[in-house]
């Protein structure tokens, strides 16, 4: 009689369980590297002694709740101290956050271009959406497509949102520029059709610096342009890791935490 064991189950599913495709491998490696770097940065930008004391005091107040549980005033005052201590601890962790927040944010934004969405596939329809400055302009906007791309339906106007949407399908892989705008003045938008890992910019914006920095990888639309944004509906990417489909940022979050935890223990760093 064969019994079902977790090991047998693992072996049964092992090919998919342990298989790492390129994006997954990239996330794992990046998580390890960034986990290490961030822990080291945390070490040198934080007050390690103060953090250690703050953490120890938190633990002490937690233990006090347990040790003196029959004494309600002690329990309550310990709980108050835990709240206060948590605030102090977060405040101490705040300074390293200042140092790592900006570079890490920029890094994550760049990674998101590769890992956040997948390139378009041939034969599968996708949407191109343009937002105008007002609804009157919508009637003048046209979509110019290269030969490899083909419209599959008439454009849909959404006047309340000042938007116009086209449904398009790609025939061949490649990077294409579509043109959008009134006939006398069009603006291009890059469209990626591929099965590879590509750097993708889903939107081209007229917006402010930080908005473009965080959302777009393309040059800004001119300020006097009647079009505010052009967006391509790329499918979001999920990454298979240990039998679970992950959004890359969550996987990165979990793995970098694990890596950070290991490195902090090895390097003796207080976090």
């Amino acid at each position: 009689m064969v019994s079902f064991t977790p090991v047998a189950a693992l072996l049964t599913f092992s090919p998919s369980f342990f298989h790492l495709d390129l994006p997954a491998l990239l996330v794992v490696l990046l998580s390890i590297v960034i986990g290490f770097l961030m822990v080291v940065v945390f070490r040198y930008t934080s007050d390690q002694k103060a953090i250690r004391i703050a953490k120890d005091q938190l633990k002490a107040h937690l233990l006090a709740v347990r040790l003196f549980q029959d004494q309600l005033p002690v329990v309550l005052s310990s709980y108050g101290r835990i709240l206060k201590g948590t605030g102090r601890y977060l405040r101490l962790a705040f300074r390293p956050l200042l140092f790592v927040a900006l570079p890490l944010t920029l890094l994550i934004v760049q990674l998101d271009r590769y890992l956040g969405v997948k390139p378009l596939s041939t034969g599968r329809p996708f949407l191109i959406k343009a937002r105008a400055i007002d609804s009157e302009v919508l009637n003048t906007i046209e979509l110019g497509l290269p030969l490899a791309l083909q419209r599959t339906a008439p454009p849909v106007h959404i006047p309340t949102e000042n938007e116009i949407v086209w449904r398009v399908v790609a025939r061949e892989p490649g990077n294409y520029d579509v043109s959008i705008g009134p006939p006398d003045r069009t603006f291009s938008k890059r469209v990626s059709v591929s099965t590879e890992l590509e750097r993708i910019s889903a939107i081209r914006l007229q917006g402010h610096f930080w908005e473009r920095m965080l959302l777009s990888a393309e040059s800004r639309l001119p300020a006097e342009s009647p079009i505010q944004s052009i967006e391509v509906g790329y499918p979001s990417r999920s990454i298979a890791f240990v039998g679970v489909e992950w959004n890359w940022i969550w996987l990165f979050f979990v793995l970098s935490l694990v890596a950070g935890f290991l490195f902090k223990s090895i390097l003796g760093i207080e976090i």
């Binding site: 961030m38 233990l63 790592v100 927040a101």
Partner: protein
């Protein structure tokens, strides 16, 4: 201008940071919501802490009415008949009533004077003998030593005449597994407490009265009871000894310390120096005596009179004459076995030689390898709250001062550092124990008086070279400091709190050593092997077949009784009684020929002074030394010399192991006490009575008559 510009730049930078951070934190995009594992840990662990705290608190709050009801049903309301809400007992080991009275009269102890005026000040009868483990055991159990089984620091093994620690026994795990060169212990070390009797806080705890007990001697191993307790005197160091310091030195010498310390050579290692701290025995090694070690490096800078230390991952710099904080050390054995401890380093010298003193390696209170508190988490709680602290029973390294490894100042710094830690623990316990018992014993009083009595006397042999004007007022300052502590405690307590200041014994000078084994030898009671005129430690050259009496430890005198000792020759019964009487008669009133003073003022028959199930373990006689005398250093260690009397030249210059009638302790109270001659044995029944509990029938003490009215 420059400052203004600087602050403007600073403001601008701050503004940029604030804007960036604001954008990052306020932007509701998934990719910006995470700022690395550091922040992730901070946020996660904060939430985790709050969550756990909430669970704990909710549990405590929700279950409190039920637990309260259950306690009420089971114990019929804990404080129902109590005359007090709280009892605070401050134990000052060795505080002497005569010195206290003198300093009160001189006006240097205002708080004790206030206690005396508003409440009571009495001499407190101590135990026979007047030794801390004996007296504190009686304090906590309310019984005589015949019922608690502690007669000295040491007891003797009847089969080998060798000593062992009287309070606790630590043995290797019962089972082990031998693989090749390794012996793997299966289980934890077996720790057996030897003190019998039930501490009075157990009775209180069982009745629902909460107790915080800190560093009362002979509470190792800690016993379970409904309260918290941190063990005191008799907690071993990591080597299992009562304190073994280490002197790392580049000086080459074959000399060994008499006891309490080891000398370790420092060796050159490239441009630096390398040495080690000796640790416990390797638990995996089949060969006894193979110790674990922690190596460390020293980089001395003679010009700057400092040295850089690297101990495991810890790096620190010390100036000459400076102590390090507590440094964690890990003694690594094979197969992942390890022992963790803490110690402090003291840089003695960097030129021409390098010398570093290392305290005994204390059990790490934050990660105790042996239980040193009840519950185990209590020592961890204190370590997390206040940082690492001394856990060794005899934490103040008197041996190092005795051996002149530490000087007076370095010893005092160490003492008061420990004392400050203890104060913090006391005030935390006072805050946490708003009802119930809070008892804390301070050892500083004992250790400092032992080591600095020499400056209190005009002609102490250990201070003859020090002009009177240059003698520091260490003991005066000690009492003043304790008085300050009492004052701060008095501010923390209300009218419903009883405050007792208690000491286990007083103090007297220890100027002359009396080697009782030498006297026994010279008077025909103790025989040496043929050709020997002296004996080494622990009766090395004693001929037991012709020995009728011997002494070891501080006050005990034993007959070599047939059927009891392995090579006993004195038949029990009439002959033994006659020998006892003979010894009593001859020793009582023994005169020191050099000074003409009486060296022994009383010899007490243990059959007369003790009663209880453990009397058989007691010495046969207790020797009460006269004022200024004590058992010699050699005699204590079972050594027989030619000299009966000699000067005590050690820094350890005051003592209490004398005739107990000469060294009563103190009892201060914030309430009036009717009895004129209370005893330390009366404290336990008094506290139980004040909390309205019935007294156990086996108690030897009687409750004192304490005024129910708060001090006016």
């Amino acid at each position: 201008m420059k400052n203004a510009a600087g602050s403007a730049t600073k403001c601008r930078h701050l503004a940029v940071f604030a804007v960036v951070l604001g954008l990052v934190l306020l932007c509701p995009l998934r990719s910006e919501a995470y700022a690395g594992p550091g922040a992730g840990f901070a946020v996660l662990s904060s939430f985790w802490t709050l969550f756990v705290a909430f669970l704990y608190s909710a549990y405590a709050l929700l279950t409190w009415p039920f637990r309260h009801l259950l306690r009420s049903l089971r114990r019929r309301k804990a404080y129902g008949k109590a005359q007090i809400k709280r009892a605070v007992i401050l134990g000052f080991d060795g505080m002497d009533p005569e010195l206290a009275a003198r300093f009160i009269a001189e006006g240097t102890l205002p708080n004790l004077a206030k206690l005396q005026a508003q409440g009571s000040f009495r001499k407190l009868r101590t135990t026979f003998p007047a030794i801390s483990p004996v007296a504190w055991s009686t304090f906590m159990t309310g019984v005589n030593p015949g019922k608690h089984n502690i007669y000295d620091f040491l007891a003797r093994d009847l089969s080998s005449y060798l000593p062992f620690l009287s309070s606790a026994e630590i043995r290797a795990p019962k089972r082990s597994w031998k693989i090749g060169k390794y012996t793997i212990p299966l289980g934890k070390p077996v720790i057996k407490g030897m003190r019998r009797g039930t501490p009075f806080w157990h009775w209180l705890g069982k009745s629902g009265i909460f107790c915080s007990v800190i560093r009362v001697p002979v509470t190792f191993p800690p016993e379970k009871f409904p309260g918290v307790l941190l063990s005191g005197m008799c907690v071993p160091d990591l080597k299992g000894s009562q304190g073994t310091f280490c002197l790392c030195t580049t000086r080459h010498t074959d000399e060994k310390f008499r006891e309490g310390g080891v000398r370790v050579p420092i060796e050159r290692n490239g441009s630096g120096l390398r040495t080690y701290i000796p640790g416990p025995e390797d638990p995996l090694s089949s060969n006894s005596g193979s110790e674990l070690r922690v190596h460390f490096e020293i980089r001395p800078d003679a010009g700057k009179r400092l040295a850089l230390f690297a101990v495991d991952s810890e790096k620190f710099t010390l100036q000459v004459g400076e102590y390090s904080p507590w440094i964690p050390v890990k003694f690594q054995a094979a197969l992942g076995f390890s022992a963790r401890g803490i110690c402090r380093f003291y840089l003695k010298e960097v030129s021409p030689e390098v010398e570093v003193y290392v305290t005994p390696v204390n059990i790490d209170p934050g990660r105790p390898d042996l239980p040193i508190s009840h519950p185990v988490t209590y020592s961890i709680y204190l370590a997390k709250l206040f940082g690492p602290y001394a856990t060794l029973g005899l934490a103040e390294d008197t041996w190092a001062l005795n051996e002149e490894v530490l000087d007076d100042d370095a010893f005092l710094v160490q003492c008061y550092a420990n004392h400050d830690d203890r104060e913090r623990m006391l005030f935390d316990a006072l805050e946490k124990t708003r009802q119930g018992l809070c008892a804390c014993v301070f050892d500083t009083t004992d250790r400092v008086q032992h080591m600095f009595w020499r400056y209190l006397e005009d002609d102490h042999p250990a201070a003859r070279g020090v002009p009177r004007a240059e003698r520091p007022k260490v003991i005066e300052e000690l009492y003043s400091r304790m008085d300050g502590l009492i004052g701060r405690v008095m501010q923390q307590i209300d009218e419903e709190t009883l405050l007792l200041v208690v000491s286990d014994h007083g103090f007297k000078s220890f100027a002359r050593c009396l080697n009782l084994n030498a006297w026994l030898h010279q008077n025909g009671y103790l025989a040496l092997k043929s050709g020997k005129t002296e004996s080494g430690d622990w009766f090395e050259d004693v001929d037991w077949s012709q020995t009728r009496a011997y002494t070891m430890g501080l006050n005990g005198l034993y007959m070599n009784l047939k059927g009891r000792e392995r090579e006993g020759i004195v038949p029990p019964g009439a002959e033994a009684e006659a020998l006892k009487e003979e010894l009593r008669t001859k020793l009582n009133g023994l005169v020191d020929p050099a000074s003409g003073r009486i060296g022994i003022t009383g010899v007490f028959d243990c059959d007369a002074i003790y009663a209880g199930p453990y009397v058989d373990n007691a010495p046969d006689l207790i020797v009460g030394y006269g004022e200024g005398f004590r058992a010699s250093w050699d005699s204590v260690m079972g050594k027989v010399t030619n000299q009966i009397f000699e000067d005590n030249l050690k820094a350890w210059s005051g003592d209490h192991c004398v005739d107990p009638r000469l060294v009563p302790g103190v009892l201060f109270s914030n309430r009036k006490i009717a009895e004129e001659k209370p005893g330390i044995v009366d404290v336990a029944p008094t506290i139980l009575k004040l909390f309205g509990l019935p007294l156990p029938a086996h108690f030897d003490g009687t409750p004192l008559t304490v005024s129910t009215e708060p001090a006016g």
